[in-house]
């Protein structure tokens, strides 16, 4: 498995993928290796290393590794590749470039839609905000789904809750330019708080820690929404701020794919995580259970059913 720059301890998608792989490998009784990429220039050499060491299934984690994974897969048609978070479609023909790559992707917009609805319902100031690490499709899909959920709430309830940090029409928004939890991310969160935001969705690895710091500094009651894992469980230090988390079951997807590969049943059809197959979902409200509207969970369940049966459309680059 090759990580991207976040590393295997990012409490986010690299870590989840790794956990899934370890679990599958332990069950199969096979050996696994992990290599961490610290920079973009590490991707290709790391992949070559794993090929040289005789790995027969290689997992690449992250959108950013797609190009390197595509090249490596083309050069080694006997090795099975699992690409987490990207379909590896470098020639943009709508199909995965190599027959030996299995993409594991997630239509997170569906779960983010639910989070947007919940945020809009929770917000007292009528302004909710989001910001991302970089304008990657896998990042912006959260922000886009979130904005759509807020929009749906406004239409359904006749309210006017605003979303800051994401412009659905322009498909652009507020980004820190990196995935470090540093002062830059804190200042963006602070900027959103200055605009009266009372629900924050930071998308991208550890940058939620910066948002949490900004929230604590402000002394206001502002809720945070986690991404990828149920952050309440992976990082209890921000648990008291978390409204909910938008989960991507990267561990489950990776686990299934490796188990299949290990049993000789590798198939390259993409796995798309949706609300229906529980590849994506909304975590529970934990500490906020008593603070949200009692009817909210029921409404969310209805919307979830509506998204699954297609009566509520959620657009994203995966759903078309």
């Amino acid at each position: 498995m090759v990580s991207d720059a976040g590393g295997f301890d990012d409490k986010s998608f690299n870590q989840l993928g790794y956990e899934g792989m370890v679990k599958a490998a332990d069950e199969l009784g096979v050996e696994y290796k992990k290599v961490q990429s610290d920079a973009e220039t590490d991707y290709a050499p790391n992949l070559t290393n794993l090929v040289d060491q005789g790995c027969n299934t290689i997992v690449t984690v992250g959108f950013a590794l797609a190009a390197a994974a595509g090249e490596s897969a083309a050069a080694n048609p006997d090795i099975e590749y699992v690409s987490i978070d990207d379909v590896v479609d470098q020639d943009f023909d709508g199909k995965t470039d190599q027959p030996n790559i299995k993409p594991i992707i997630f239509d997170t917009a569906q779960a983010a839609f639910l989070a947007g609805y919940a945020a809009a319902d929770f917000s007292k100031t009528g302004v909710v905000g989001t910001f991302g690490g970089m304008n990657f499709p896998t990042v912006s899909i959260f922000m886009d789904g979130f904005a759509q959920g807020v929009q749906y709430y406004n239409t359904a309830k006749g309210k006017d809750v605003k979303v800051l940090g994401w412009d659905t029409a322009a498909q652009d928004g507020s980004f820190t330019g990196g995935f470090e939890a540093n002062d830059g991310a804190r200042q963006i969160a602070q900027g959103l708080i200055d605009q009266n935001v009372d629900v924050l969705l930071p998308v991208g690895g550890p940058i939620y820690q910066s948002a949490a710091a900004a929230i604590r500094d402000s002394g206001k009651e502002i809720a945070l929404i986690g991404v990828d894992a149920d952050v309440f469980e992976t990082d209890p230090s921000v648990g008291d701020l978390l409204l909910t988390s938008i989960r991507k079951a990267i561990d489950v997807g990776t686990y299934d794919a490796i188990l299949a590969a290990g049993n000789g049943e590798f198939d390259a059809t993409p796995f798309v995580g949706t609300l229906e197959n529980e590849g994506v979902g909304l975590a529970s409200f934990h500490d906020f259970e008593s603070k949200v509207n009692p009817s909210l969970q029921g409404e969310l369940d209805e919307i979830k059913a509506g998204i699954i049966d297609g009566s509520i459309p959620v657009t994203s680059y995966l759903a078309g």
């Binding site: 590393g7 961490q36 322009a170 470090e180 002062d183 200042q187 900027g191 200055d194 604590r216 230090s237």
Partner: protein
């Protein structure tokens, strides 16, 4: 000495002392370019709506009214004012007068007002929030730049600022978590900075290794070491080692009640107040004390310093260590002053920006501080505009701080002259 035939005696010819003013069209040309940009953006692409400048937050002692302006009208007014300033600067050049620095400041200020009114049309802009964040973002840069100024004034090129910041951030997080003491955390950051500085000093001064190379290697070394320790030690034991307390914001009585300036400058954390003192102390000491004179002497002309009995290499060594200490304190801001927990490579290039601030600030502590503040402002401007939904794409906005820095270095500052012996080891 003077009896040596090799020494060139001062020539007997009288030295011309009239100050020649060089006719430089740089300022009017730069003004002209920005005026054209202003015309294209604020006038031709004027955006409808009103811009609200919020001058105080609900928690400030003195409540200022919100300033609401029409975006398009402001654009016109600013454009005309910029034309006037450009014309004034051109006249000044023609009549062989120097273009006043205040004219440049006024130009930049007006351009910024026009830009903000344009970009934030239809929304409200929190001016205090914008400036507060700018100062906060500039803090590690200023500490780093002070370290850079001291080291380079002494003649040792300090590329390792990034490593010193990162080492400071790491150790302060670990020590503050395990001891529960913020003061010890900052002291640990200081020690870590000194250690990195001393490695640089030993290799650069004692073993005469190329200073740029040592600096780059140190940065990579510290990045690798802290990332390794983070993954192997900190991440599995986060509760014991990586959940440091954070400095609370401390309001200075009276001063924090001043409108705008008060909440921006005097509602910060202790590290920021330490920074104010550090800037003042370095600026004073560098020009007014024996220490400063000796430091500048070994950086400008080590041979001359040596002849009057200053121990060149010892002076350099301890000042590089001192520079490391200052940069190390800056590192603690990343964790104790800002986010709390340490993160891999969390300095994200701040050390290099600090280095740019040193050069841009012409190796002067005050100017370097202003340069760092400019960078902090540009960064936070981009943050704020991203949030209120600016017409400029986010990828371009992320370049803004760097574009501003390049323009400022190239257009407004002009020649930066390094200390004469900067980067040159002294061998007797």
């Amino acid at each position: 000495m003077s009896t040596s035939p090799a020494v060139v005696m001062p020539s007997s010819e009288p030295i011309a002392l009239d100050t020649a003013v060089i006719k430089s069209w740089k300022a009017p040309i730069a003004f002209g370019i920005f005026t054209v940009i202003a015309f294209l953006m604020f006038v031709l692409n004027a955006r409808p709506g009103e811009t609200t400048f919020r001058l105080s937050t609900e928690r400030d002692a003195v409540q200022l009214p919100e300033v609401v302006v029409n975006s398009a009208t402001t654009g016109w007014v600013v454009f005309l004012a910029l034309v006037l300033i450009t014309a004034a600067s051109a006249l000044a050049v023609i009549s062989r007068r120097k273009v006043s620095i205040w004219l440049t400041v006024l130009f930049a200020l007006l351009f910024m007002i026009g830009f903000l009114a344009w970009a934030a049309a239809g929304s409200s802009l929190p001016v205090t929030g914008l400036l507060f964040g700018s100062v906060s973002l500039a803090v590690p840069l200023i500490f780093g730049a002070l370290g850079g100024v001291i080291s380079e004034r002494g003649g040792v090129v300090n590329i390792a600022i990034e490593g010193q910041l990162l080492a400071g951030a790491f150790t302060s997080a670990v020590v503050a978590t395990s001891t529960g003491s913020l003061v010890l955390g900052v002291l640990a950051a200081l020690v870590a900075g000194v250690l990195v500085g001393m490695v640089l000093a030993v290799f650069a001064i004692k073993y005469l290794v190329d200073q740029v190379i040592v600096g780059v290697v140190l940065n990579v070394l510290v990045t690798g070491l802290t990332s390794f320790l983070f993954s192997q030690v900190l991440a599995p034991n986060a509760a014991m080692l990586n959940t440091p307390p954070r400095f609370p914001r401390l309001e200075i009585p009276l001063l924090s009640d001043i409108p705008i300036i008060g909440p921006v400058l005097f509602k910060q954390t202790v590290i920021v107040y330490v920074m104010y003192i550090a800037v003042a102390a370095v600026a004073y000491a560098l020009y007014k004390t024996k220490w400063g004179l000796r430091l500048r002497a070994v950086g400008e002309h080590p041979k001359a310093a040596d002849t009057v009995g200053i121990k060149v290499n010892a002076t350099r060594f301890w000042n590089v260590a001192l520079a490391g200490a200052i940069a190390g304190i800056g590192g603690s801001f990343f964790t104790l002053g800002s986010v709390g927990a340490f993160n891999k490579e969390m300095t994200a290039g701040a050390g290099f920006i600090a280095l740019a601030a040193v050069i841009f600030g012409q190796w002067d502590p005050i100017k370097a501080t202003l340069a760092a503040l400019l960078f902090g402002f540009a960064t936070n401007l981009q943050n704020v505009l991203g949030i209120i939904g600016s017409p400029v794409p986010s990828e371009f906005m992320l370049m803004l701080p760097y574009v501003v820095t390049i323009f400022a270095v190239a257009g407004l500052v002009g020649v930066s002259r390094a200390p004469a012996a900067d980067g040159k080891p002294y061998i007797k």
